[in-house]
Symmetry: C2
Subunit: 154 residues, 2 copies
Amino acid sequence: MEEKYMREAIKMASENVKNGGGPFGAVIVKDGLILGRGVNRVTANNDPTAHAEVMAIRDATANAGTHDLEGAIIYTSCEPCPMCLGAIYWAHISHIFYGNNQLDAARIGFDDSDIYKQLALPIDKRRIPETQMLSKEAIETFDLWQATENKQEY
Amino acid sequence: MEEKYMREAIKMASENVKNGGGPFGAVIVKDGLILGRGVNRVTANNDPTAHAEVMAIRDATANAGTHDLEGAIIYTSCEPCPMCLGAIYWAHISHIFYGNNQLDAARIGFDDSDIYKQLALPIDKRRIPETQMLSKEAIETFDLWQATENKQEY
C-alpha cells in the first residue's frame, strides 16, 4: 500500500470532474511503476463501460502487451462496481485499494448496489430478462473452438 | 426474439475463432436495426475487457451517440459473464438472449462461475483483497462533484 498512488488516482478523479467527466480515477501499478491510468469518461465518450478501472486496465494491458496483469495492484478512488470488479478478476490483478466506498458513491448519485444484488440472483430472478435460444446452433461454435489447433486459450 | 439476430451473433463467433479470437459474438438491436456488434478479442487485442458483449456495447453506444441503450436487445452467442452483465445493466439494455450457457462455456475452458461467486461474497471474503485507504482525501473529489454545476449525471 503506497499512499502516493492513491493520491494520484484521487488527483486524476478531481481533474476529470473539471474536464467534464465523472469523479473517478484509477492507476495500476506493477513493480513500482504506473502501468496504466484511467478516469471515468462514460458521458464524455458515450461509453457506459468507460469506468476508471476498465479504462486503467485497458491502458495497462495495452502498455504491457499482455491481457494478464498478475501481480499488479489497482489504486482506485472509489470501490469498484460489479462490471469493474469482474474486469479486475479477468485481468488477474492481485490487490485492490480504494478510497471512497459504495455508500459514498450512492450518496452522490452513483448507486451500484442494485447491480450487485441482481448479479447475485438466480438468472430467472434478475430484473433484465435473460432467455436462452438456438442452443443447438450456438454449441457448434464451441465445437469449432475445441477442434481448432494452436488456439490461444486464457 | 428474432432468430436471425442470434444466428448473426453465432456466425460472428465462429468467424472470430477462424480469425484467432475467442468463440463469442454479440449483436445489439434496437428498433429492428443492428446498432452494434462485437466479438471476443481478449488475446488478439491484449485487452481482458474485450468480451463480445462489452465490444458490442461500445460499438452500439458510439453509433447511437449516447451511453444509454434503453429499449435495446442484446443477442449474445453465450450467457454473459459478470463483467458483461454489469456492463449490460449500466447500458440499460432491456433484454438478453443467449445461445450457449455458463456450463457450456466452462466445459471448453471459459469458467466464470468463480467470478459470480466472488462478487456475491461480502467484500472481506473475496479472493482478491480489497482495502480502503485515504478515505478522507478521496471524499474531496465527491464534494467537488457535488459543488460542480452543469455536470452531466447518469
